[in-house]
Symmetry: C2
Subunit: 423 residues, 2 copies
């Protein structure tokens, strides 16, 4: 019975959810199902790497083909994700060994980890410890982050859909403000995500096609906030066209490098928790210029907005998932499939491959030449890069007026280890 | 030349823009074009009633049929709107007389005013002063308000699309929070519009189809905020299902009737300016329960979100515009077409008619039986009422990944009066 000897695979989702991370899951699962002569079961870890530590595995074979297909149009992280940072192999040796123990107990030969640079780092370490322990494992990363800050890939699944959402939203809100500016709100401020890199802020700029169209001012996390220049720009814009629409990054910093929206709390990775710079900017405008402001904070709405996902982003998310399985079956280890841009117009891309050690813990910054000389707009080069990433629509099915999203059964795999994971 | 004797009509948009107010404009303009044997020119006032005061009229006949058609899918108020409240006929007599002077100068026999209850009041007064002055004018109101608070109509155009947006958004954000709750955000708070009536807050409740699905807590403006009961409910929800999603009205009040998010500023109608109750609720949850919160404020995004407009809402907005012209041609005065619900399931509606004096300055409250006994959810009766209003999708055309919205020429009509409007 050669079937019995097939090794299993484990897929896990990591970090912040996106509108298309489940499309990657779908790509992984469908590719694994097609490779049933080579891969035994495809398990998914419940709540990301924590599921691997706790031996909380989900048997994806219990989900119907239709349910798996529906992952393509369902936001969130369907198997659960987590923010749980493993430290160095030395410091967290017991945890890494525990994961290998779980993998061994369930005869898992491939680990496919879907996340950002922290996750690439974890996958890399797992492949190293397995080697040291003599356990045969191939660890494959799959890129995912709305921050678009992974190196060695042209873009990251999740980003294109946020980009489409924020550009659409600011275009729509801009029309609203334009309608009312003569007697009501003159300045609208939209806060968007992107802690250290201004990719999402830059994407807001796509909404403006002709001079004078909103957004008029982009506040990038890359440039220290210059209050005087900012206020002068807002005043000039209101003077010229009657109103001003602003997109501000949650990660906007002052001249001393301090976040304007410093909230004081810290997440599991030691990242500062941000939120609330839009009301500060609105208040500044009101107090110093006397214009009536309104502000919005899209927060999770932007990264969960599957209803307005980019078709390009969706397709890349899916194909990268399928490519990860292909790499696994090709015997690759400690690598990640990437998006390689072949041409801007027409937009063409293909799947490439990067080594996890080249990706882990590196951060890709937005090129300075993407920001216009005055610091408040994007350049033509930025548009060339960004425009293809938001192209195409792929709306989910709607039932009774609302998107119909799938909830999986998430059937638990029977535990085989006697000891629970001790945190 | 009988054509020369045709009287003209004036259309104006009032108050906050919506995703579908331009669909009403399209209905008005297309109906007027079809009635070219009876109506001369259809003018639009620039920036609402201010355009009538300032004699700033737009000649809609200069817009192509395609541009007018594109109003159906364009948010904002394409001709401009304003918040400018006319007082009583006695107090503001000079202004009302000025408007009649403008109407007379441009041979306008019909005034079609698209707005909420303040606008119904203005249209009514204008019809009365015209009568007193012996100027033949028919004033027709057309309902529009995301607040859904007009009496004598089953619903108000603009509301259904906001309802669809907030229910979609909270369903999507809910999936995101559910994915991450084990190690990250446990409580998400979305602030929605609706100053005095909880219609929009109630619409968030449509996202939950089965027990345990988000949103778990709705905070209505109708019910004074009870901190203790609220915190107990959040704690219980997190205990039961691991996370909690909350929708809060911008108009939430404390036990003394004071807005929680009192910002202190006041708009042109003397309404208090609100915003920012979500961060307060999030902070309360963090401080008192220790759960990590996230919060969003949709603000203008919700009422401008044409990309996710309700097809039902869109159709009603259009038909009410066309009906206003029909009423005008039927010789009606000081009336407003309304939506009459014929049945819930299947949803059937027809156009009705209300007198402006029955609509002006009244506010329709949400029935108490729409709020569940515990005050945190909606009832089956609320669902029956709300569900049809968000039904159907009618996405705008997309170009290069973004909704393609029309910008009109807004050709100015030559002024005929010698005196400008003195504010």
């Amino acid at each position: 019975m050669p079937r019995a000897r097939l090794r299993n695979a484990l897929y896990a989702q990591s970090g912040g959810a996106t509108a298309v991370i489940n499309a990657t899951a779908c790509g992984v699962i469908e590719a694994a199902r097609r490779a049933k002569s080579r891969i035994g079961k495809l398990y998914a870890a419940r709540d990301g790497i924590l599921g691997a530590l706790r031996e909380e595995l989900i048997d994806t074979s219990k989900e119907s083909a239709a349910a798996i297909r529906a992952l393509r149009h369902t936001p969130g992280a369907a198997f659960g994700s987590c923010r749980y940072k493993l430290k160095s192999l030395e410091e967290d040796r017991a945890k890494f060994e525990r994961i290998v123990e779980v993998l061994r107990a369930h005869e898992i030969g491939w680990f496919i980890y879907n996340g950002g640079n922290d996750s690439a780092d974890t996958a890399l370490k797992l492949s190293r410890i397995s080697e040291k322990l003599g356990y045969p494992l191939a660890a494959i990363g799959v890129p995912k982050t709305i921050d678009n800050d992974l190196v060695r890939t042209d873009c990251c699944p999740g980003f294109g859909s946020v980009a489409k959402y924020v550009a659409t939203s600011i275009r729509e809100a801009g029309l609203d403000v334009a309608s009312m500016a003569s007697t009501s709100t003159r300045v609208f401020v939209l806060e968007v995500m992107g802690r250290h890199a201004g990719w999402i802020t830059a994407a807001c700029g796509l909404a403006a096609e002709r001079p004078g169209e909103p957004p008029h001012v982009l506040l990038f996390p890359e440039l220290p906030f210059d209050e005087g220049r900012f206020l002068a720009k807002v005043k000039q814009t209101v003077g010229d066209i009657g109103y001003c629409v602003i997109a501000v990054s949650e990660g906007l910093r002052d001249q001393q490098g301090k976040f304007l929206a410093e909230a004081g709390s810290v997440d599991a990775f030691g990242h500062k928790q941000l939120g609330g710079v839009a009301p500060l900017i609105a208040q500044l405008v009101q107090e110093r210029l006397g214009y009536k402001p309104h502000w919005g904070v899209a927060d999770y709405l932007q990264r969960a907005a599957r209803h307005i996902a980019s078709k390009t982003d969706l397709e890349q998310a899916y194909q990268l998932g399928a490519a990860a399985v292909k790499l696994a079956l090709a015997g690759r280890n400690a690598v990640m499939p990437t998006v390689v841009r072949v041409s801007d117009r027409p937009y063409r891309w293909k799947i490439g491959e990067a080594r996890l050690e080249d990706v882990a813990n590196h951060e890709r910054h937005m090129p300075r030449e993407f920001i216009a000389a005055d610091g408040f707009q994007i350049t033509a080069a930025a548009r060339r890069y960004l425009a293809p990433l938001i192209a195409g629509e792929a709306p989910p099915p709607f039932v009774d007026g609302l998107p119909a999203y799938v909830r999986l059964k998430k059937a638990a795999v029977r535990k085989r280890l006697r000891t629970p994971f001790a945190t």
